[in-house]
């Protein structure tokens, strides 16, 4: 941060901040530039989802109930209490599907969302 002769410190730092802002702008531009290719890739995945009839992401594969959070078997082990601490680390990432209709659960939605 030693200023060169005749160069004001604020110029140096403003330039650095400007460079960082430019990088951020470049990242935004990069995201926009990648968008069409990514859209194609996502469309291909979506096509796969349609033709296979998938319902969930393959993100949490360590246990059967974690694999399909949207279709999870609501009474499997470690899931009895929505706030219970999980056996598996990714359980802390996968809460109960809150949005299931109350009728299907057999108890009120209030109890689930609490």
């Amino acid at each position: 941060m030693k200023p060169a002769a005749g160069l004001r410190r604020s110029s140096v730092v403003f330039a650095l901040i400007g460079a960082l802002a430019l990088m951020l702008a470049l990242e935004v531009a990069h995201a926009a530039w990648r968008a069409p290719a990514e859209a194609r890739r996502i469309a291909a995945s979506a096509g796969l989802v349609r033709s296979l009839g998938l319902t969930d992401l393959a993100l949490f594969t360590e246990a059967r109930y974690a694999r399909h959070p949207a279709l999870a078997d609501l009474h499997s082990a470690f899931q009895d209490n929505p706030m219970s601490f999980e056996h598996f680390p990714s359980g802390s990432f996968v809460p109960l599907p809150h949005a299931l209709p109350a009728s299907a659960l057999g108890f009120s939605a209030d109890e689930v969302s609490r």
Partner: protein
């Protein structure tokens, strides 16, 4: 430049000169702050990107899934139920789905075994199509290696791998093993006439609620999961977790803000004397406040930019390498995926409010306290 801007620039100059005197300490401050911003920003970008991917991909999921419940647990559903569903007006098609899990004792991984919905995707009997995670889990060394599945010691079934999905679709297909229906029923001993669940297509999405209502009357024991339920589950899953992470990081931000306030209020005798000198030579309180705000703003904005720029590189350049271990948990098959880069104004605004504002807020009162020193105290 107007005098106003020149004054601001000169104030910035002064504060930088003052900061440069304790260079190591102030750089450390920027670094710590940047790390906090980096963590929060990474969490935001990562979960937003995952959420978007889930939204777009799962928009093609079946409109409605019907599951049979027995004693509160999901059970196989009889083929006869399909007719009840197709009888409802507005239902285009209802198909039984066959899928389940297979625990592979060799690799210790859980596979999702499935019979594809679309006949065009159906593998020949004796062959399978697998996701990119399976060869990795099995340590396949050559392209045409067959897949051996064994349900109990001594049993062994050989499948030829007809197709491997590439990592472009890893997020949905990583752990899949697709089989022909005949293979599936034989290997898993699923009797004919039953399915895992039923996928229902509905022509007009506005009618879903009505159709669910009618179907509930026809099949009181069943559970209905609509596509919107799935999408909402994912949106909540990611934004809730992101929020929790941000709240945790909030503790870090709070600690940092307290530290900043402490730093700003616990002015050393030297700094207090300096502010006294500035006031004595003609700086007003508002000048001192503006100067100190520049200090805070330069540190905060610098850290904000560094943290955000690095977070983008981390999430989209390295595939969120630091988060992977948490998401991965104990799963053997973790998809090898890249997320679609995405960053928007709202994320940046929220991030800015949550990181920069507390820091500046915490320093305001101490700054004022320093600035309101008596100008003549320097002479006493």
């Amino acid at each position: 430049m107007t005098p106003f801007l020149r004054r601001q620039r000169a104030l910035a100059d002064y504060t930088l000169a003052a900061l440069a005197r304790r260079r190591g300490k102030n750089l450390a401050l920027v670094v710590i702050f940047s790390v906090i911003v980096f963590v929060v920003a990474s969490a935001m970008l990562f979960s937003a990107a995952l959420q978007r991917e889930a939204d777009l991909v799962l928009a093609e999921a079946p409109e409605l899934i019907v599951q049979q419940l027995v004693l509160g647990r999901q059970d196989l559903i009889a083929e006869t139920e399909i007719a009840k569903l197709t009888a409802i007006r507005g239902v285009t098609a209802a198909k039984g789905r066959l899928w389940g899990y297979f625990y592979d004792r060799i690799s210790g991984a859980n596979y999702t075994v499935m019979v594809p919905d679309d006949p065009a995707m159906m593998p020949e009997p004796g062959t399978v199509a697998v996701g990119e995670g399976i060869p990795r889990a099995r340590g396949f060394t050559f392209a045409q290696a067959p897949l051996f599945l064994s349900r109990w010691p001594g049993e062994l079934q050989k499948f030829a791998v007809a197709r491997t999905f590439d990592s472009d679709s890893a997020l949905v297909s990583s752990d899949l093993v697709l089989m022909a229906e005949s293979d599936f029923r034989r290997f898993f001993e699923v009797p004919p006439g039953v399915y895992t669940d039923i996928a229902v297509s509905i022509r007009n999405p506005r009618e879903i609620a009505t159709i669910v209502e009618k179907a509930t009357r026809a099949m009181p024991a069943a559970r209905f999961v609509t596509r919107d339920d799935i999408a909402r589950t994912y949106q909540k899953l990611f934004s809730w977790r992101e929020g929790l992470l941000v709240a945790l990081a909030g503790a870090a931000i709070l600690a940092f803000a307290i530290f900043a306030a402490e730093k700003a209020s616990g002015l050393s005798a030297e700094e207090a004397r300096e502010i006294g000198v500035l006031k004595a030579i003609g700086w007003d309180s508002s000048d001192v406040i503006a100067m100190k705000l520049w200090e805070g703003a330069l540190i905060a904005i610098g850290a904000f930019l560094i943290g955000t720029v690095a977070a983008y590189l981390h999430v989209f350049g390295t595939g969120a390498a630091l988060f992977a271990p948490v998401l991965k948990g104990w799963s053997v098959i973790y998809p090898d995926f890249r997320l679609a880069p995405q960053i928007d104004g709202m994320q940046l605004t929220a991030l800015f409010l949550i990181t920069v504002v507390p820091y500046v807020a915490a320093t305001l009162v101490p700054i004022w306290r320093a600035a309101s020193a008596d100008p003549d105290q320097i002479m006493r």
